[in-house]
Symmetry: C2
Subunit: 167 residues, 2 copies
């Protein structure tokens, strides 16, 4: 909401080149950090036979005892069916989940974790510890980072929404 447009007309305005440079470095850093995270998760999850996005999907499913509709998983992970459908099919092929049409609404497909999927959960428990250790951030920094990232995402999403449909 608070968008400081230009409080100081002749402020120590970082000139264009400076702004652009900073921007580039942030998108670079974010890109690099996301991929570095992916690499560490790749190593940590190799033994479990999961990819990072598959792991995220399993986390969502493990969170609740009841089967969850594909729609709900997509909203949680901010992914659409084009990404989730094949991913869930691979999880089903691995025997970790089953997908079945909902009885109440035949359009909906609910995903249930199998016994094998629950067993995998046990083996996945030590994973986050490894990641936290690898990140090397203090709790304080982690909180700061998470807060900034969430604010950033919120802003970016709002900006994009305003850009597209709009009313």
């Amino acid at each position: 909401m608070t968008a400081p447009p230009s409080p100081l007309p002749d402020a120590p305005l970082p000139d264009d080149a400076e702004l652009l440079r900073l921007d580039h470095q942030i998108c670079f850093s974010l890109h690099a950090a996301a991929r570095a995270f992916g690499g560490v998760y790749r190593d940590a999850l190799k033994d479990l036979g999961l990819t990072y996005p598959q792991y995220l999907a399993m986390l969502v499913l493990w969170e609740e005892p009841d089967p969850q509709p594909v729609k709900a998983i997509g909203e949680r992970l901010r992914l659409d069916s084009g990404t989730l459908s094949p991913l869930l099919k691979r999880l089903e092929a691995a025997g970790l989940v089953v997908r079945e049409r909902s009885a109440e609404d035949e359009r909906s497909v609910v995903v249930r974790v199998t016994d094998a999927g629950e067993e995998l959960r046990e083996r996945a428990l030590p994973v986050p510890r490894r990641i936290v250790a690898a990140s090397g951030l203090s709790l304080q920094d982690a909180f700061t980072l998470r807060g900034l990232l969430e604010r950033l995402t919120e802003n970016l999403d709002a900006s994009q929404a305003g850009q597209a449909g709009e009313r």
Copy 2:
């Protein structure tokens, strides 16, 4: 929505479950932020006919007047030839760059920006401004974020390197 687990200031003890939750939210946030960034760039770059990674590659090429070897671009972006080769081929097909074998080292391929590529640079100038605006972060926050991300990436990379080859 997401109900913060324990807002009690009295029991901030980060037991395992707490740590794991935090970790998950950070990887979630990072993932989400990276994709939100991608979405905003997608909009901003649509008119230029560039994808976000293609834009990053062009930024590297625009930075220096001389043609740059594929190797150097890959080191700058932390991408390997498996990703860069097809990407650069698409940029070449779009007429923005040309790739030619280096005279000194026949193994190396250098990438040169064409006149059309230089013209595109002019049209790309306003893009970063839009991104900075969309991010809605103050300069202060942007610096903090960049610092945390770089430290995070460094730690993750180091951890992964120690994990893998190592003798």
